[in-house]
C-alpha cells in the first residue's frame, strides 16, 4: 500500500487533535506516514501517540534549521520527503501557515492543491475525493486532484478520530534548506496566554459574543465555562478591542464546526456565518427578533444576553450539582 504523508499538528511536541483526524482520513487512501517537524528528542514520544492512529512510519525532521524562518523551508523539506517516498497524497492540517506551505509545495511538485477540505474519501479509482464548504457554507464542492501528488489541507473537526494500531517506526530524516528559503526571518515570537479553555477550532462547543455584549464578556464566558466550551467573538467585538483577534470567528478569523455554536449579541452577517455555518447545532440569544442569525438557529431566545446567560448559567450549574 502506498504511503500518505500526514503533517503532524503539535505545540512543542504536544500532539493536537486534528493530527488524529488526518491520520484517520489518510487511512482511506493508503498507509499513513506522519511527519513531525520538531525537536528530535521529542520524536519517540510523538511516535507513541500517532502510532495509535495508524501511523506506520514517523518521519522526524529536526526543525533547528527551519523554525527560525517563515514557511519556505518547510515546503522544501516536504518536497524532499515526497520525492523520497512518492506518497499517494499529502495531508496537512488547514492552518494559515500550512496552507502557505502547501501552496509552495504544490508548485515545487507540480501538483494540484485543495485547501480547507472538510472530508476526504477514496474515489472509485482509489484516489482522494475531497469535500469543501464554500461561499460562506452555502455550497459543498466535491473535487479531486488530477495532476501530480494530491496536496490537501484539512479543517479541524472534519472526522472523528478512530484508533488503529500502526508500526510507528521512527525514521530521522535530514533535509537541506537552501539560503533562498531563509529570506523571511522570524525575529520574535510571543506565545499567547492560555485561557485554560478548549482551543476554539477544536472545541465541541463554542460560545461567542458580539457587539451586543457591550464589551462585557463575563456573561458569555460564564456560560461557556458552565458548558466546558471555547469562547469566540464577532469582528465587531474584536475591532472594539474587547477580545483579541485570535478569538474571532468568521471569514477573516477562525472557521469553527463544533457540535454546538451559541451566538450571543451577534447579528449574523455573511462574514460571520462563513466561520460557523457548518456547526451541527446553532443557538442564538439576541434582543432583536429580526436579527438574521435567527434564520440559522435550531433554537433561539429573543432577549437580553445580560439577563438570559447568567440565569442559564446558574441553572446549568444547579443541574450539574
Amino acid at each position: 500500500m502506498s504511503e500518505v504523508l500526514v503533517v503532524i499538528d503539535h505545540a512543542d511536541g504536544e500532539v493536537k487533535k486534528p493530527t488524529y483526524e488526518l491520520l484517520t482520513l489518510a487511512r482511506r487512501l493508503g498507509e499513513p506516514s506522519a511527519v513531525f517537524f520538531g525537536s528530535p528528542d521529542q520524536g519517540d514520544a510523538v511516535a507513541e501517540k500517532v502510532k495509535k492512529y495508524g501511523a506506520a512510519k514517523v518521519y522526524v525532521v529536526d526543525d533547528a534549521q527551519i523554525k527560525g524562518f517563515l514557511v519556505a523551508p518547510k515546503a522544501e523539506a516536504l518536497q524532499q520527503l515526497a520525492e523520497k517516498s512518492s506518497p499517494a497524497a499529502i495531508l496537512l492540517p488547514s492552518t494559515f501557515e500550512n496552507k502557505e506551505v502547501a501552496g509552495r509545495l504544490a508548485i515545487k511538485l507540480g501538483s494540484g492543491l485543495i485547501t480547507d477540505a472538510v472530508d476526504v474519501a477514496a474515489g472509485p479509482d482509489g484516489g482522494a475525493v475531497t469535500t469543501q464548504s464554500v461561499f460562506a457554507g452555502n455550497y459543498t464542492v466535491q473535487a479531486k486532484v488530477t495532476t501530480g501528488t494530491p496536496i490537501i489541507t484539512v479543517k479541524p473537526n472534519s472526522a472523528a478520530p478512530e484508533e488503529a494500531e500502526g508500526a510507528g517506526a521512527v525514521e530521522a530524516v535530514a533535509v537541506t534548506v537552501s539560503d533562498a528559503a531563509k529570506g523571511a526571518q522570524i525575529v520574535a515570537t510571543q506565545p499567547r496566554q492560555s485561557t485554560g479553555r478548549p482551543e476554539l477550532t477544536e472545541a465541541a462547543i463554542v460560545v461567542s459574543g458580539g457587539r451586543g455584549t457591550g464589551g462585557n464578556f463575563e456573561p458569555v464566558e460564564g456560560f461557556a465555562d458552565s458548558l466546558g466550551a471555547a469562547v469566540g467573538a464577532s469582528r465587531a467585538a474584536v475591532d472594539s478591542g474587547w477580545m483579541p483577534h485570535a478569538f474571532q470567528v468568521g471569514q477573516t478569523g477562525k472557521t469553527v464546526s463544533p457540535q454546538l455554536y451559541v451566538a450571543n449579541g451577534i447579528s449574523g452577517a455573511i462574514q460571520h456565518r462563513a466561520g460557523m455555518q457548518t456547526s451541527k447545532t446553532i443557538v442564538a440569544v439576541n434582543k432583536d427578533p429580526e436579527a438574521p442569525i435567527f434564520e440559522l438557529v435550531d433554537f433561539g431566545v429573543v432577549g437580553d444576553l445580560h439577563t438570559v446567560l447568567p440565569a442559564a448559567t446558574e441553572k446549568i450549574t444547579e443541574r450539574k450539582g
Binding site: D116, H245, Q277, V302, L309
Partner: protein
C-alpha cells in the same frame, strides 16, 4: 521603486453566489467588485508610498480576470494607485491556484522588466476562493521572500518588518526588499476614493494584456489543464429556522437550558 498590488475581482459576498454548469464560479451573472480584503492591500501599498516622501514610488494595480474585472483595477486607481494592468484572456477562465499564480507571476515579471517590482502586495485571501495561498505561490514562483498575513507593517530603507498572528503566538517577521507581502483586515482601514481621486483615475494609464503578451500559451492555463477538478457542487439546503422563544420574566433561560439538555449538551 515600483509596488505591484494584486487585486481580485470577486462575486459580491452578499449576493447569491453560484456556480456555472462546468462548476466554475459564476463571475458574470453575479455582481462583482474589488475583493474587500484587497482594499487593505491597496491601502498598505499607498501608505508605503506616502511614508517615503521624496522617493520616486509608483503603485501598479494588477488583476487577472474576465472583462468586468477591470473594475477592480479602476477602484484601486480611484483609491490612489498610479497605473493599472488587467490580464484578460478567454483561455484563463477556470484556472486553479497554479494557473492563476502562474499568470500573475508572469505579469509581475513583465512589470518588473519595465519599471521594477520591489514590493508585491496581496490581500490575505480572496473572498470567493478563500485559499490564502496565492501570495505564498507568488513568492515561490518569483523567488522572493514571503512576508505574509501582516496585521502591522513597518519599513525602513529596504528592511520590512511585520507582525503576524500564528496559531498559538504572535510573530515578528523581518525581510529585505524585494518581497511578497500580504496584509490582513487588521492592518488598518482602507480609504474611500475621494471625488478628486475618482476624476483623476480616468486619466491614469491602464493596460490590457493577453496571454501572448506574457509569453504564455493557452494550453498552460485554464480549466482544461487545471491540476484540480471539481466533480460536483451542491447548494446546501437552507437551514430551517428552529424554535425561537421570547424571554419573559426569565422564561428564556429555562427554555434554553431545556433545549440544551434535550440535545445532551448538559
Amino acid at each position: 521603486m515600483n509596488i505591484v498590488v494584486c487585486v481580485k475581482y470577486v462575486p459580491d459576498a452578499t449576493a447569491d453566489r453560484k456556480f456555472e454548469d462546468d462548476f466554475t464560479v459564476d463571475r458574470v451573472g453575479v455582481d462583482g467588485l474589488l475583493s474587500e480584503l484587497d482594499e487593505y492591500a491597496v491601502e498598505q501599498a499607498l501608505q508605503f508610498r506616502e511614508k517615503r516622501e521624496g522617493e520616486e514610488i509608483t503603485v501598479t494595480a494588477l488583476t487577472v480576470g474576465p472583462e468586468k474585472a477591470v473594475d477592480a483595477v479602476r477602484k484601486a486607481l480611484q483609491m490612489g494607485a498610479d497605473s493599472g494592468v488587467h490580464v484578460v484572456d478567454d483561455a484563463i477562465a477556470g484556472s486553479d491556484y497554479l494557473g492563476t499564480s502562474l499568470v500573475l507571476a508572469k505579469a509581475i515579471e513583465k512589470i518588473k522588466a519595465d519599471t521594477g517590482a520591489d514590493l508585491v502586495v496581496c490581500g490575505m485571501a480572496s473572498t470567493d476562493a478563500s485559499g490564502s495561498v496565492v501570495p505564498a505561490m507568488l513568492a515561490e514562483r518569483l523567488g522572493m521572500p514571503q512576508v505574509t498575513l501582516a496585521s502591522v507593517v513597518e519599513s525602513q530603507g529596504d528592511q520590512v518588518r511585520i507582525k503576524r498572528d500564528n496559531e498559538g503566538s504572535t510573530e515578528v517577521i523581518g525581510a529585505t526588499l524585494p518581497i511578497v507581502l500580504s496584509v490582513t483586515d487588521q492592518s488598518g482601514e482602507a480609504r474611500y476614493p475621494s471625488f478628486k481621486g475618482i476624476m483623476a483615475a480616468k486619466k491614469k494609464p491602464l493596460e490590457t494584456w493577453s496571454l501572448t503578451d506574457l509569453g504564455l500559451d493557452a494550453d498552460q492555463v485554464g480549466l482544461s489543464v487545471a491540476y484540480t477538478q471539481v466533480e460536483d457542487t451542491t447548494a446546501r439546503p437552507p437551514r430551517t429556522a428552529g424554535e425561537v422563544v421570547t424571554d419573559e420574566d426569565g422564561s428564556g433561560a429555562g427554555a434554553l437550558v431545556e433545549f440544551l439538555a434535550s440535545k445532551k449538551f448538559i
